[in-house]
Symmetry: D2
Subunit: 298 residues, 4 copies
């Protein structure tokens, strides 16, 4: 199958490479030359432009940083036309960027008007999952479009969830990541309080993991150094899912909550704490480094 | 084995009955006659007083509402002597009340001075676990004392964790329950936000359960009605673990955090939200009813 | 002076009337006929359309509910042209709506391109201030444009602050109102905690007012019933500044904080608490009714 | 009048000196020799012990760090007798320490049983106010006892508030200081958000001071450097009221709120943020340095 892949960053790069390895004919493009070089070195063909990449493609995949980039790419910006006009009728467009659900819906509407199929399919699993091809996709769109996308998604991910209609993939992701931030901070507080009282961090972690406090962070991503040997906390908070990326996702969840007039006291506080953590200089560290905020410096 | 059991409330009553059923000679006591009657009906022998209950006992177990009751029972109050003076040297005292770790340590010190062994062994698992004999015990004390207690605890519970030295059982419990409150509120926010955006609650719950937002509430105790058939949320928030009991445990965690000068932003906010929920009249409902605070009033 | 006034709601209506009373020739317009009738009864001339209202006007004033209305009015929506094209070059446009600073800047840019002067001039002071002509204006724009607007603004308000360049009026207002929400909730908590401990509300309010807890709410708008005879709290929380209006302003502040990656832990929590208060059915009550959230339900 | 003064720290020292300067015969005592030396140098007579200090005193004043010190002083500790037994019947005891209201009530009860009069009279105003004799006293106790204390208090302070019965002075103080912490953080957030949007800090501060966001911090203690020339913010956050002292007072307010099952969402969050600020190494800086948490690290 011929696939156009737009956006070759830390996530998009390895995703495109996995599609190439699986035997698909991938035409990739990114405005940043350095990103293209990295992917080219893995044997993927680099197109000269977005328009060139989508020529002849049966499926178009995009993986971009934020709402304005996706809207700019497909619908155009400042008077310049968007990519949608260059994609052949009937093509399936898969946007895997994490962006506002409202933007997904806006782009989908324009895509459908142009005779294209569209699904939003943001991912979780981080760079590690992108490289290993074990990402989780949260998909918004019709059953038929998802089934059409499935063989392609399966080359990049291990779990594919159908969240609902267009935009639902984005909503599921921001709900999940808001909850993830809350349980990471909550776990950090509980671990720190227990240790301050003299408990052994491994013992406390194991008790809570097997009790009603059990959650994903206690299972495999404990923020306390030394509890999980392979977690970022045990490697100086390097790698993993960065504080600034979590802050971006929390921003999307709060934009949505604000627009919906929804009440998210812990989710909103989590955003403010991650913003403070980033302001204090920890933006590039793994998001589990938030535990530093509730521990004695030193 | 002869066992004295003091405190026959919703938790203590079924615990004493399980020990009796297991063949132990139980001498039970509670200041409330009604509580005694219930246990007596199950065949347990009722003592005339605490002093009478502990006479000849090899193990003394207490299950009382709060710190001041445990301190009053063992050390005495307002000039009246405490029960410790009436317990034979060498006896093992197991306090299963959920109280301040500092109080456990104070009572333990006095018990040891009187030649007694002492462990703190608060439980989780609720009334259901107490009746079924499947409680989780979080134990603070020496290895030797825990091993001595184990055969007795195993008649009442399914999991026994050794948290550390005396008081560590209490600390582990308040850390766990603080984290539980945080993830219950966080899950409530995420579910409500997703549903406000049009997602199906069961679909969203399943996606997050299998993703990085996964936690105990999503596993078996979803606060959204209808997701888990047997959860309190699907039964009008009846049964389960009451809002006011959660508020009590959050109070203990905040007392401890305050004394330790620890920072628990989400844990402290969880306490304030449960306090507001109780003030609004939901104190007797299951603690998962906190989701009502972030949903449109029906 | 001939003035066009667009938007005749609870705020805009009395503002237009005050300009009329001051001797200006006002041409007013609102899409809602009822709003027009009310203003017409006071002697103000009603125009048949926005275009008709601005014909011959030296100053155009708008007072609309939200960003999308202001953008729609001046720039047009869904292909229909905006009002800017109908306003004579050199005219001064004053937008007194409370909207996103980014929208003010966008409209200002288009206005300037069309040869018009523009300032953002959101107000505080509520309906009472609009009727009495004692509003506070927070103005963004050039010194020259503000001086040109001053004689008109003085007919509607008692205080005119120059906050900075275009958009700065909006920013000053959301900063102020975020702080107002925080101090109203904080005052509610302090009053409730003191009264729960047996203190007399008037005595406590007076002590804090004259101490370092002193703030605007303690000065004239105490949320505890009976402390200030004329405050909404003493009148069943009727009148004043509604919970849903405060929620809107807090939404604007959080949109801005999210876009800026700013950390506003108390401001964000205030938004979540006002959202919960609105969900619980208190949206139409004065915003000081938030004290109900931290008090035992009557 | 002969006055015993116990506790000669940063606050107690200058208070004792002011009483001496006013012509009273002061017998002062502190366990720390250094504190005594400082006061002795100002001409105050130093007693050899607490018992010696109260001998012949008509009024006894204490100014100690925390609840346990006050209880230990007057009621004794670990079996040793307390100072109450050494004070002549009829003497007035004034405790100006900031401690738990419950401790004030406990000591007052014992004092009354010993034939003494007692009032709690915690202060605000900081070291500057103590030196200048311009402290604010918040008094709990009877009218008669307050009138008896007034001439003495007036030598040390400028404002004397009668908050209510015994313990009410303490309650008023923790309510006030909880509110102060909330408005200081809220003001920090509003100032930082405005400046991030390009506003001039002095202009924004002045607009909010004169609007509904007005509060004590905007009046004279702005946390943004350079707005108030004499505020700690303009002097590297030196002097003033330290972060760790604010954290202590917030701890007292949260102990009380927890015991009362009161809901204080902003007050509780303020405590957690100050605890994090102290953990990050800012404990000795003025409490307005909390603004650093919501600003980009320099």
């Amino acid at each position: 199958m011929q696939i156009a892949f737009i956006g070759l960053g830390h996530m998009g790069g390895p995703m495109a490479i996995n599609l190439h390895k699986a035997g698909h004919k991938v035409q990739a493009f990114d405005l940043a030359t350095a990103a293209c070089e990295h992917v080219k070195a893995a044997g993927v063909q680099i197109a000269a432009s977005g328009e060139a990449a989508v020529k002849g493609a049966e499926v178009v995949i995009s993986m971009l940083p934020a709402s304005q980039h996706v809207e700019g790419l497909y619908l155009g910006r400042d008077g310049s036309g968007g990519l949608l006009a260059h994609i052949a009728k009937g093509t399936l467009v898969i946007d895997s960027s994490t962006i506002a659900a409202a933007t997904s819906q806006k782009v989908a509407k324009a895509a459908q008007a142009a005779g294209l199929a569209f699904i939003d399919a943001p991912v979780s699993g981080g760079v590690g999952g992108a490289v290993a091809g074990t990402l989780t996709f949260m998909v918004g769109g019709s059953d038929a479009d998802l089934e059409r996308a499935r063989p392609v998604l399966e080359k990049m991910g291990a779990n594919i969830f159908h969240a609902g209609a267009i935009g639902a993939g984005q909503t599921a992701k921001i709900c999940n990541n808001m909850l993830l931030a809350v349980l990471m901070i909550g776990t950090s507080e509980a671990m720190s309080l227990g240790v301050a009282n003299g408990l052994d961090p491994k013992v406390l972690a194991e008790i809570m993991r097997r009790s009603s406090g059990g959650n994903w962070a206690l299972e495999k991503y404990n923020p306390y150094p030394g509890v999980h040997e392979n977690a970022p906390a045990s490697k100086g908070y390097a790698g993993g899912f960065g504080t600034d990326l979590m802050l971006k996702d929390l921003g999307l969840s709060q934009e949505n909550a604000t627009a919906m007039r929804a009440s998210t006291p812990l989710g909103g506080l989590a955003r403010a704490l991650y913003a403070a953590h980033s302001l204090a200089g920890h933006g590039a560290e793994d998001f589990s480094s938030i535990i530093k905020m509730v521990q004695k410096k030193g």
